[in-house]
Subunit: 133 residues, 2 copies
DNA sequence: TAATATTTGCAACATTGTTGCAATAAATAT
DNA sequence: ATATTTATTGCAACAATGTTGCAAATATTA
């Protein structure tokens, strides 16, 4: 299962495997601080570089929400090295604060008179299943 | 026209008027670095605090795009002190790199089986009118 | 197993944002 | 208009976040 690193053509080091495993253990997106908590021991700089290369290689993607720490999640769709083009939305639960990547069968489209839209990115806020009892 | 500061119940100081005027002179969203360039002379800390209070009071709103400097734009809709609820999308032109707040007559809605969506935030990428010749 | 390419960790630095506090300026009440 | 009250500004000092060059260590390839 750590074939992923090889398939993305980056060296398979213990540290990278460890970080990848952390992302895989979560069903939601997580910030750097969570990755840090999960790692027993780590070098701050190496972690930054690991996150960076994971994003570049299409292993994880970044989710930014105003005024909050960036979150990161595994790319389930096949992401190119060049760009992340996800047809899913980012859902933030206002109760448990977790951020989920959610597939949606009918991704909306917008037409604007004076703009040529190539891509949409959608963030939703609300309640996740667990919190919406 | 500087009534805005009074109406938002914050003191009307020369510096705040100056910063507000800068935002009003742009039709697109701008990052802090642009505000800084426009100001002849300024105190870094005061500027941070000004941006912060402008956001809190619903005068401007923040637009965050992955891996980029935050951008800020005047709130044209009436924003409460509590939260910014904009029914417009944020459009980033991949050519001129400008970010625009764009009204859309039919704001899309999404229904997800396991989530209760309260609010959507939409970012679009593509070409603006000027760049789409 | 040796040669080569890549990653890691250190030191040092850059950038970005925050806080306490006294001086200053703005708003309000006389 | 002037005094009183309240809020803002700027300084110093700090905290958090992210970056770079480079030598040692490790992974990949031959
Ligand atoms: Mn996602
Ligand atoms: Mn906007
Ligand atoms: Zn939840
Ligand atoms: Zn453009």
């Amino acid at each position: 299962m750590t074939e992923l690193l090889k398939s993305k053509k980056i060296s398979e080091t213990p540290f990278r495997k460890e970080v990848l495993a952390i992302f895989r253990n979560y069903t939601n997106a997580i910030p750097l601080s969570t990755v840090e908590k999960e790692l027993k021991e780590y070098n701050r700089i190496t972690l930054y570089r690991t996150i960076k290369i994971f994003i570049e290689k299409g292993i994880i993607h970044e989710i930014t929400i105003s005024g909050e720490e960036s979150n990161y999640a595994i790319c389930h769709e096949e992401c190119s090295t060049a760009a992340h083009h996800h047809q899913h939305i980012h859902f933030k639960c206002s109760s448990c604060k977790k951020i989920f990547c959610v597939e949606v069968d009918q991704f909306p489209s917008i037409i604007l008179p004076n703009y040529k839209i190539k891509q949409l990115e959608i963030q939703a806020t609300g309640l996740c299943q667990k919190c919406n009892v």
